[in-house]
């Protein structure tokens, strides 16, 4: 948001646009690097793979953008995704005798995922906005709860969707429309709606106001509790949606599903230029951040130029660099 700049001289204005473009430039640089290192990088197959892979974290990160913009944080999304996936698989397996294999079963599974996500988000939101516990603590707690509930549901192993049901459901991840797979389409739709909501609706404006200064929001008759709760519920539902896309991929969930997704989602949001302490959020930026994170992985796998032991370090450096470049503007003042 250019509106947040402190002083209005034209020189600064141009820099600000650069700041908005920063993550995009980083993304372009990564794409060029990838294309340079491997000729298959820009192949239809690889591009589809990377985008579809980004979709889970991406859908979640769009929700996370709202939570962080409103001054919150949610550490539980990775565990929540595992839990939602587990519940969804159990529900679908249990419903096979009733509904048989077919569209009703898949729709029922989707409904279960959305409702479970909503309920999980509602619980987080309730504890944070109504009971007034710090978001960090609430979601740290629920992170552990959802994770171990998943392990418990799976009896320490893996929950697998019935083979026939999975074969029927599988196209939701692997097929698509006009050669674009469903996860990519859903991710794009969520991103567009997210951007519209953030920039053009009262909800988005209130989220930013709440994150910028809760007191001002309260004194401006903003329903602070409801907005805050809304961000967590929205995130919960998006986790449900991401799970709907995730389950058909491998047809299973275990205690190790979605590990560290929360950190990837948060990192994507921050790389994208949303302020960690809230007040200003950019959904487009988040999408860019998600793509940057996926591309780093992809390029490291495709190029094998460094020891795989160092993959994590390279990711870390790029994440920090992306944010440093963005903030460079402020410290230059």
């Amino acid at each position: 948001m250019t509106e947040t700049t402190a002083t209005p001289n034209p020189v600064r204005e141009r820099k600000v646009n650069l700041h908005v473009l920063g993550p995009v430039l980083a993304l372009v640089a990564l794409i060029l690097l990838g294309a340079f290192l491997n000729s298959n990088f820009l192949s239809y197959g690889n591009v589809t793979n990377v985008l579809a892979r980004s979709a889970f974290i991406g859908i979640i990160a769009v929700g996370m953008t709202f939570v962080i913009t409103a001054g919150g944080i949610d550490l539980s999304v990775g565990s929540m995704a595992a839990f939602v996936a587990g519940v969804m698989i159990l529900a679908m397996n249990a419903l096979i005798p009733v509904l048989g294999i077919g569209v009703p079963l898949v729709l029922a599974g989707m409904a279960v995922a959305l409702v479970t996500g909503l309920a999980a988000g509602l619980l987080n939101g309730f504890l944070i906005s109504k009971v007034g516990i710090e978001a960090f603590i609430v979601t740290l707690g629920s992170m552990g709860i959802y994770r171990s509930l998943t392990t418990w549901l799976a009896d320490g192993g893996t929950l697998s969707l019935d083979y026939a049901a999975r074969s029927f459901y599988r196209p939701v991840y692997y097929d698509g429309l006009l050669g674009i797979s469903w996860p990519i389409l859903v991710f794009a739709l969520v991103a567009i709606l997210g951007e519209l909501t953030m920039r053009h609706t009262p909800f988005g404006r209130y989220c930013a106001a709440l994150g910028a200064n809760e007191q001002v929001a309260r004194y401006s008759a903003v329903k602070v509790d409801r907005i805050r709760m809304g961000t967590y519920v929205l995130l919960g539902m998006l986790v449900g949606l991401a799970t709907i896309m995730y389950v058909p991929r491998l047809g299973s969930a275990s205690g190790s599903t979605g590990v560290l997704w929360e950190l990837e989602a948060i990192a994507a949001v921050i790389i994208g230029g949303t302020v960690l302490k809230g007040g200003s959020g950019r959904v487009w930026g988040t999408v860019t951040g998600v793509l940057i994170l996926s591309l780093i992985d992809n390029i490291l796998n495709l190029a094998s130029i460094v020891s795989p032991y160092l993959n994590g370090a390279i990711q870390g450096v790029i994440v920090i660099l992306a944010v440093v470049l963005q903030r460079g503007r402020k410290s230059a003042d």
Binding site: T2, E3, T4, T5, A6, T7, P8, N9, P10, V11, R12, L196, H200, T201, P202, R205, Y206, A208, A209, A212, N213, Q215, V216, A217, R218, Y219, S220, A221, V222, K223, G279, S280
Partner: protein
């Protein structure tokens, strides 16, 4: 108070170095200029500070006072001209180096760590040590004695966030005292103080002066300037207008020098209220803060609320506006309004303008548009915000309230206090309230803007709306309101109308001194 003033020359004369001659200049600004991008805010301004003098710097908001002070204190570097410290050219590399040279600035927005105690703040960055450990006892003792010098008796272990605003101010001053400043620069130190506290502060300034400290002081309260300053410099639009002795420089003359034109009477004519009651509060209590407050407000009335800081005025009004849980009954136009819901209060046509525009009123990091429409956002679309309509509303607000911003995309935090206050007014009026409660309408605002706001308040009442004005500045309530409710210690102490109104009467009610007692005393 007047006695202090007359003493001053004698005290200054008692400084050894100055005997017989003019005291030496400690810090001098020579033809200082400063530009921010294309905007020039200071045009070759001269300014000097002598040891043992109080030099007041006055001007409207945006005249360049803050910029000049920040340059003197090393927070900003000048784009032209130079600084001389004790006749040697000097360049400060950040405010720390200025502080090391003995130049301290007390900001209008305090520079205190809210989570730390008063003592910890006073010694922040130069902690007393014993070996490798902090010497807490020594620091506590010294903090206590520094605060005691300021007649401020808070426990130095109290955290800043738990302190009242005036006490925070005292901690800031104690911090400067503790550093034995040669030059003390104070940006509107009295804006947040009550009269009594102001008096204590002025006594302290007087004492610092007698110890040889050079004090730069700004205030919008020209009577204070008149009272404390030795010399006065007036800035207008970044230009130096004049520097002269305070003696014989009357308040009106000062105001006219600041504004650059003749000022007519500051207060507009009082509107006449209509007979019907629009708001009635009965027995309103806010636990621990307000007890059993009842009052009425008529249509087209400007009702004043006065009392000492901490008397419960703000808390009562926040309860009325739905921002605090409270008991009792509140009726607007005969309909009951529940407490604790801002939305319900808004629906009833109530709007409250906070005294704390920086923390509760405006999003300082956001632009004018977002701030303007936040309260009445639903008027710009429930599903999708109509940005064109927002821009139009902003055009109108800028026009109607004379909001001066260099650019409408600037962050509101960079606007002057007066323009922020006008924006806050515009924001509140956009919600189209029938009853407007304005808490400290002119705190930290220059005289020209003050007059605009007073005119606006009167105009509002004349148009059939009702206004409650809370103010700690007695001339302000007296000048604006026809009826004044005085609060003291959480109770409504009394009500004054028409000819009963006088500063004396208000103060007596506020302090709980009954008429007869005073006479017998």
């Amino acid at each position: 108070m007047a006695a202090n003033k007359r003493q001053t020359p004698a005290m200054a004369g008692s400084i050894p170095v100055a005997s017989g001659r003019e005291p030496p200049t400690v810090l001098e600004a020579v033809e200082i200029s400063r530009r921010f991008g294309p905007v020039q805010v200071l045009h070759g301004v001269p300014f000097s500070l002598r040891a043992g003098e109080v030099h007041a710097l006055i001007g409207e908001n945006g005249a360049g006072k803050s910029t000049l002070m920040k340059i003197l204190a090393g927070f900003l570097s000048p784009s032209g001209g130079r600084l001389e410290l004790e006749s040697e050219p000097v360049e400060f590399n950040g405010h720390q180096s200025a502080e090391d040279a003995g130049i301290l600035m007390i900001h209008q927005e305090f520079n205190l760590a809210m989570q730390l105690s008063a003592a910890e703040n006073i010694f922040l960055g130069r902690e007393r040590r014993r070996g490798i450990f902090l010497d807490h006892r020594a620091m506590l003792e010294e903090a206590r004695s520094l605060l005691a010098r300021l007649n401020c008796h808070v426990d130095p272990r109290t955290r800043i966030q738990d302190m009242s605003v005036p006490n925070r101010q005292m901690v800031e001053i104690a911090r400067a005292l503790g550093r034995r400043a040669k030059v003390l620069i104070m940006d509107e130190p009295t804006a947040v103080l009550t009269n009594r506290e102001t008096e204590i502060l002025l006594e302290q300034i007087d004492r610092l002066r007698s110890e040889g400290t050079a004090v730069l002081f700004t205030s919008h309260k020209l009577d204070e300037v008149q009272h404390i300053a030795d010399r006065v410099t007036v800035l207008r639009d970044g230009h130096h207008i004049l520097t002269r002795a305070a003696e014989g420089f009357g308040e009106n003359a000062m105001a006219e020098a600041m504004v650059g034109r003749e000022l007519s009477d500051l207060f507009p004519q009082k509107p006449t209220p209509q007979p019907d009651v629009v708001l009635e509060a009965r027995d309103v209590s806010v636990p621990g803060l307000v007890e059993g407050a009842s009052f009425r407000l008529k249509r087209g009335e400007v009702l004043g609320f006065s009392g000492l800081v901490g008397a419960g005025r703000t808390e009562l009004m926040e309860a009325i506006a739905g921002l605090r849980a409270a008991t009792g009954t509140l009726e607007v136009n005969g309909k009951s309004v529940p407490f604790g819901s801002v939305q319900a209060a808004r629906k009833a046509g109530l709007a409250y303008l906070t005294e704390d525009r920086k923390e509760k009123g405006l999003l300082l990091g956001k632009g004018l548009r977002e701030n303007l429409t936040l309260l009445a956002l639903e008027r710009f679309g429930r599903l999708k915000i109509d940005r064109v309509a927002e821009e139009r509303a902003l055009d109108q607000a800028i026009e109607e309230f004379d909001i001066r911003a260099k650019d409408r995309t600037v962050a509101v935090g960079s606007l002057s206090g007066g323009n922020q206050q006008k924006l806050l007014l515009a924001k509140t009026m956009l919600a189209d309230p029938q009853i407007v409660i304005i808490d400290e309408p002119t705190r930290g605002i220059d005289i020209g803007t003050k007059q605009q706001i007073y005119d606006f308040i009167a105009e509002l009442a004349r148009s059939g709306k009702s206004v409650i004005v809370i103010s700690s500045e007695l001339p302000e309530v007296i000048g604006l309101a026809d009826r004044i409710v005085v609060m003291g210690r959480g109770h409504i102490a009394g009500e004054l109308t028409g000819s009963q109104i006088s500063e004396d009467a208000i103060l007596r009610l506020a302090m709980g001194v009954a008429e007869d007692q005073k006479e017998t005393a």
